[in-house]
């Protein structure tokens, strides 16, 4: 018999398969969408650790992504081999998140959200002003990947898929381990979590570091893919908003939610870009508002049976 878990596993495997097969079956435009989906899925899965499991509304994704871009680019420009540069970016961003988390995770709720946005701006300003190292506003050229456009796209796709897979596997592990359980406790009632013996500071820092780690790698790979980075592109505040919206769309704190949300969001966005060139941002805003009001726990948590059943008075008393 097929259990829900089997269906979910099959669905995820199928989804990875479809994304991985795009180079064989489709044109470069579709591959590009697949890369974008894999990239955002990895970042959404990352954000899910801090925003979903721990319930801390972090907007520092763009900071982690941007630092990843720059560390990867600078390392490559100084002659470090490609893969080592990506690894270096990952390590650097993780260490940065641990150090930063120890300070910023003392804030809660709205204060944490504002603090995490400020991080993005501060890092962006530092990178813009430190011209000697980062090229300032002129940006940096990153050594191009070898091979023609087709080969580059295929390579980047598989690397992004590998990062997405790694993030997914770590999500499953965390979900089943003490860490995931402890983070859920923190998200629901931090004081009570403290009182049952959870070292909340360490748990939150771990979640924050996990939310940074894969973004760092994604940033470095992205820099190698596009070949040129500048502060506005790398530290785009829109990225910090999009990624949480994706997770909320799919279902925050769940294992599959980020993947569903990222896939759905990227395809929706692509559709609106292509069809409503002038209105796509307004539509994006509309989706966010719709989400907040009507889907507070995401696509995964929708009770579809209830949705299609007419509400009888009995149901209403039950709900009250």
């Amino acid at each position: 018999m097929m259990t829900r878990r089997h269906i979910a596993a099959l669905g995820v495997a199928l989804w990875f398969g479809i994304l991985a097969l795009t180079p064989l079956l489709a044109d470069n435009y579709t591959i590009r969408i697949a890369i974008t989906i894999a990239m955002y899925s990895a970042m959404a899965l990352s954000w899910n650790f801090i925003g979903g499991f721990a319930g801390y509304p972090s907007f520092s994704t763009a900071a982690f992504f941007g630092i990843g871009c720059y560390v990867g680019a600078i390392a490559q420009r100084s002659g470090v081999p490609l893969v080592v540069a990506w690894a270096l970016a990952t390590v650097f961003v993780t260490v940065f998140a641990v150090a930063l988390g120890a300070i910023i995770l003392r804030l809660k709720g709205h204060y944490f959200a504002i603090g995490s946005i400020a991080i993005v701006e501060v890092v962006r300003l530092v990178v813009s002003s430190w011209g000697g190292l980062t090229g300032g506003g002129d940006g940096l050229n990153v050594p191009l990947l070898s091979g023609g456009p087709d080969r580059v796209a295929t390579t980047v796709l598989y690397v992004m898929l590998a990062i997405m897979l790694a993030a997914f596997v770590v999500t499953i592990l965390v979900d089943r381990a003490r860490l995931g359980f402890g983070l859920r406790c923190i998200s629901q009632n931090e004081d009570a979590a403290d009182m049952v013996g959870i070292d909340t500071t360490r748990y939150k820092i771990a979640a924050y570091a996990l939310s940074a780690l894969f973004c760092g790698t994604v940033g470095a790979v992205y820099a190698s893919w596009v070949g040129y980075i500048d502060p506005t592109d790398s530290f785009s505040i829109l990225l910090s908003v999009k990624v949480p919206v994706m997770v909320l769309l799919g279902g925050a704190g769940t294992v599959l939610g980020p993947i569903i949300g990222a896939g759905a969001f990227v395809m929706l966005e692509e559709f609106f870009w292509a069809n409503f060139l002038e209105w796509n941002r307004a539509i994006l805003g509309g989706i966010i508002v719709f989400l907040i009001f009507f889907l507070p726990s995401g696509i995964l948590k929708l009770d579809y049976r209830r949705l299609f059943r007419r509400k009888s008075p009995v149901d209403r008393t039950e709900a009250a």
Binding site: R176, R178, F181, R184, C185, A192, V196, G197
Partner: protein
């Protein structure tokens, strides 16, 4: 009797207000001790000082021979200093069982989830919540939420359990149920500090009573002596009434018919 917890000259000031002032006492293993005092006497602050929620302004807390004055709440929990909250603090979206499993996993020293769940189920049966183990905690009634708090604390395998008004908001029948539960917990060898407004509850269950007033420990001893202590009567009833009582102390301890004195 072996000493388990000792407070030495413990003080806490919030700005200019001394919420707890120079409090010293000792708890022995397996005792049930009542901590009473009028509203704002510093009872909850004292619990917060013992469990590391607040930092001490002065003095020392010694638990099982170890100075734990600077501990954090999660360390207190792991050491075996558990507490319940005056306002219940469940993890609302989790099931009742998961709530208790959190206690046994993080505070009770179980490392495997399966063990933690098993221990949690045992505690739920003990407090009489076995039947609702798989319900979301948010759906429980108030008396059951209080029981959940107890089960969660017990799952942490505490040596000392601080019960901050576990009976507040319960009716007479529910209080009787809660009291017999507390006696059963004490029978397991756990030292219990019961913080309570209701005199009836404290007097009927405590072997010893500590009285706080304006952050100071004004009396301690067995229930009868403490209740007849003029300073305690003054703290609860005010100087005017105390003058009347002080001349002719009542023969029996303050009976429950006299009502809860703080009202």
């Amino acid at each position: 009797m072996t000493e388990i917890l000792r407070l030495e000259n413990v003080s806490k000031a919030f700005g200019g207000i001394r919420a707890v002032n120079d409090v010293s006492f000792t708890l022995n293993e397996g005792e049930i001790v009542g901590l009473i005092g009028p509203n704002g006497a510093g009872k909850t602050t004292l619990v917060n000082l013992i469990t590391g929620v607040h930092k001490l302004t002065g003095g020392k807390v010694i638990f099982a021979g170890q100075d734990v004055s600077r501990q954090k709440p999660f360390q207190a929990a792991r050491r075996g200093l558990a507490r319940t909250f005056q306002i219940v603090q469940p993890f609302p979206a989790m099931t009742v069982l998961e709530n208790v499993a959190a206690g046994s996993l993080f505070g009770g020293g179980h490392t495997a989830m399966a063990d933690a769940r098993q221990a949690a189920r045992a505690e739920l049966d003990f407090v009489g919540l076995g039947a609702v183990a798989d319900q979301p905690a948010a759906l429980l009634s108030l008396p059951n939420r209080k029981r959940l708090e107890l089960a969660k604390s017990l799952a942490m395998r505490p040596k000392v359990l601080l019960l901050d008004e576990v009976n507040a908001g319960l009716n007479a029948a529910e209080i009787d149920g809660a009291l017999s539960l507390i006696r059963q917990i004490a029978a397991r060898g756990i030292t219990i500090v019961i913080i309570e407004h209701l005199m009836k509850v404290v007097l009927s269950i405590s072997q010893r009573i500590l009285v706080l007033h304006h952050g100071e420990l004004i009396a301690q001893g067995d229930p009868t002596t403490v209740v007849n202590d003029p300073r305690v009567i003054e703290a609860y009833l005010g100087a005017k009434f105390a003058a009347r009582f002080g001349m002719t102390p009542p023969a029996a301890p303050l009976a429950p018919e006299h009502g809860a004195p703080h009202v």
